[in-house]
Symmetry: C2
Subunit: 415 residues, 2 copies
């Protein structure tokens, strides 16, 4: 068992903020950004960041391998993105009507995502996944949706991973399959019967706390063919992967195009934006439904997104993230071998998930992440990490020093 002593809480800005937060925020903090999900001794608050570095409220700096759980692709406060946001803010953001940036962004995205004929914008990834199902149901006149067991498609009542507080009705008409398992899709389809409106699927299996699984191309092609056969909509949930696996559809490489896709996170390099994209045949259904949000038409996040996409296209940021991710991936495996640690690395090189096979108490992952943090690198013990294009070669070397410390610490506690 874990005999490593984690640092005891000390008087600090973080501790003071935690005390204040406990008084006015339920549980002190909630959601994916509650520090309890990180390593023991992790901070709860971050004060600032620049490029690939974040600084907690007590002044400790970390090279960022979590990238705000996905939104940061170009590094924090990327100069060109922030300049575009500031320039738009000088004109205004949230008006009675949208501005030109909305049209420009829809044009840009439909140019980048090959199958997309149109785009609509929201604020949360959950807005986009939820709207995708609404559009699919409006178009097909059916209710049934097939989704993978354990997949995260957001935190709305229909999909939040903890059903407490939701109603059975909100989670009805959903049929679970296992990712990459065609037979399980057939079983889910049998349960759904003639009511299939959509199949929702992520570009790869990236469930939290479990080894990740890349999509098998024949599985993706099977889903596409099944939707074609049944007149159902194939919905690709790009919220976490979008603009990381590729600059465009994450499934472009395997030649499978969905009918609808939900995007968010990386689109605006941290600015709050989400998008639903889809094909022309869905337009009449969309014109009959009602969906909106107070800030869905705001221009600043759209200007930031345009700049993010400009930089990514010009600098080949996705290729850079692939290169950096491969260096990290290879380095981690070499270190695990060197220290004789049984380590599993799964997922995509730009979004690696590290765990230690056989452990059920997270002791090793906690020790690993804590050692990385002590050595100045911010990882996550139970969630995939994210690469940003802002990482320099020198920072990559620092990261590998830190992960070396992590493996040494894991090796030290033994099995």
């Amino acid at each position: 068992m874990n005999s490593i002593a984690f640092p005891a809480p000390v008087a600090s800005v973080d501790a003071d903020l935690r005390r204040r937060a406990a008084a006015v925020i339920p549980g002190g903090m909630y959601g994916h950004q509650a520090a309890k999900h990180l390593w023991p001794g992790a901070p709860q608050f971050i004060a600032s960041g620049e490029g690939a570095v974040v600084r907690d409220v007590d002044g400790r700096e970390y090279i960022d391998l979590l990238c705000s759980y996905g939104p940061i692709v170009l590094g924090h406060r990327h100069p060109e993105v922030e300049a575009a946001a500031r320039e738009q803010a000088m004109l205004g953001d949230c008006f009675n009507l949208p501005g030109p940036r909305m049209v420009e962004l829809a044009e840009r995205l439909t140019g980048i995502v090959d199958y997309a004929d149109w785009a609509m914008f929201q604020k949360n990834g959950t807005d986009a996944t939820t709207l995708a199902l609404t559009v699919a149901r409006a178009h097909t006149g059916r209710k049934g949706v097939l989704m993978a067991t354990g997949a995260y498609h957001g935190a709305a009542p229909w999909c939040t991973p903890i059903p407490l507080g939701t109603t059975p009705g909100a989670r009805a008409d959903l049929y679970n399959y296992r990712y990459n398992d065609i037979a399980s899709v057939e079983a889910a389809l049998a349960a759904c019967g003639d009511d299939l409106a959509a199949i929702i699927v992520s570009p790869f299996r990236h469930d939290a706390g479990l080894p990740q699984e890349l999509v098998e191309p024949e599985f993706a092609r099977y889903l596409r063919a099944l939707c074609d056969e049944k007149g159902a909509m194939l919905v690709l949930d790009e919220v976490r992967c979008g603009m990381r696996l590729g600059f465009g559809s994450s499934w472009a490489g395997i030649g499978v195009a969905p009918d609808l896709s939900a995007w968010s996170k990386a689109l605006g390099n941290g600015h709050p934006i989400a998008a639903l994209m889809g094909i022309d045949v869905l337009r009449p259904a969309i014109e009959k439904i009602f969906t909106t949000g107070s800030f869905w038409f705001s221009s600043v996040a759209m200007a930031a997104s345009l700049a993010t996409l400009d930089v990514m296209a010009r600098e080949g940021s996705v290729a850079r993230m692939h290169t950096l991710g491969q260096v990290l991936w290879d380095g981690l495996l070499a270190q695990a071998a060197k220290y004789g640690v049984d380590c599993s690395l799964t997922g995509h090189v730009t979004m690696p998930y590290l765990c230690f096979p056989g452990e059920s108490d997270w002791a090793k992952t906690d020790v690993f992440a804590a050692a990385c943090a002590k050595a100045g690198v911010f990882t996550h013990p139970r969630h995939n990490w994210f690469i940003s294009a802002a990482l320099s070669d020198a920072q990559m070397a620092q990261i590998l020093e830190a992960t070396g410390e992590g493996f040494a610490a894991v090796a030290a506690i033994g099995d």
Copy 2:
């Protein structure tokens, strides 16, 4: 019937943007900011704004009586709010963890809203109303929710005003009552039986396209007593009214405190933020549910909200909006009388709703709004307007000149 000739479309930046939008945005535009909801001849795109003035993409200026459908309380690009946002943006916005602004904002809001013990933050008003029901259901272990017929609580599947694309299950466990009608609440309760988790209600009845209705204090007190008796949660939907009717709870004046309240719009003077506030007894339930969003912990909108609340407290912005709204209200009624036009003005002085009794084709409201727009004032023919504290006395005089033109145009077309 309406014989007024509305302006024909002409070559313009707006027309060009509409053509481009039609190619890449379903319906050319969707949601509440589609120009089809405004007067014939209205623009679809706004380029910029400052204080109480917005400018469309063809350079026409309007004094803003719609305030982005609610978010703008201090005027567009308020210097102090924008400075706070820029200052925070220099530190960063969206990180792996929240920042100090989140604690400060929760402290500030619980200080302003008398019954609130805690606050949680989101991006959309719909996020907050939806989360309110989840919390109420998790706390009570029940499913049933009473909501007013025709009330707008957002655009999620459970509440979007057009059910196409939603499932019966998503809209189950909801029981309609009529606003201010105690007997109808009793009937809804009878249908719900022992399963009452919550009653959701807006501070006044502000359904789109219908005369508004202020709450009868005995109705509010009845709802409070009923929830107490049944162990159910009273949820006040402050998304549209919050920080306009009062600086704090919209029902503070009638002495009725809800258990939960959903806020958004005015909180950040246009920056994207929403909040759920509530009482301490709900904390254990909240700690057991899961809710989150990629941008819910971002600091820039929170810094903007802190500055907005600072300015409002220091300058008495709510009182200023009440004064301005009363001047407008009185002026409109005097003009209607002068022109012999049967005009109904309902709702709250800071959020007036104008219509012409007896008409079902919107001909008069369209003519009125078009005349206002021609005279440089942006209103809405089928939705309540919003006052901002940025309006100067000179602008108020301009507004009343424009509304005078509106009544003259309505009088000219007769009945």
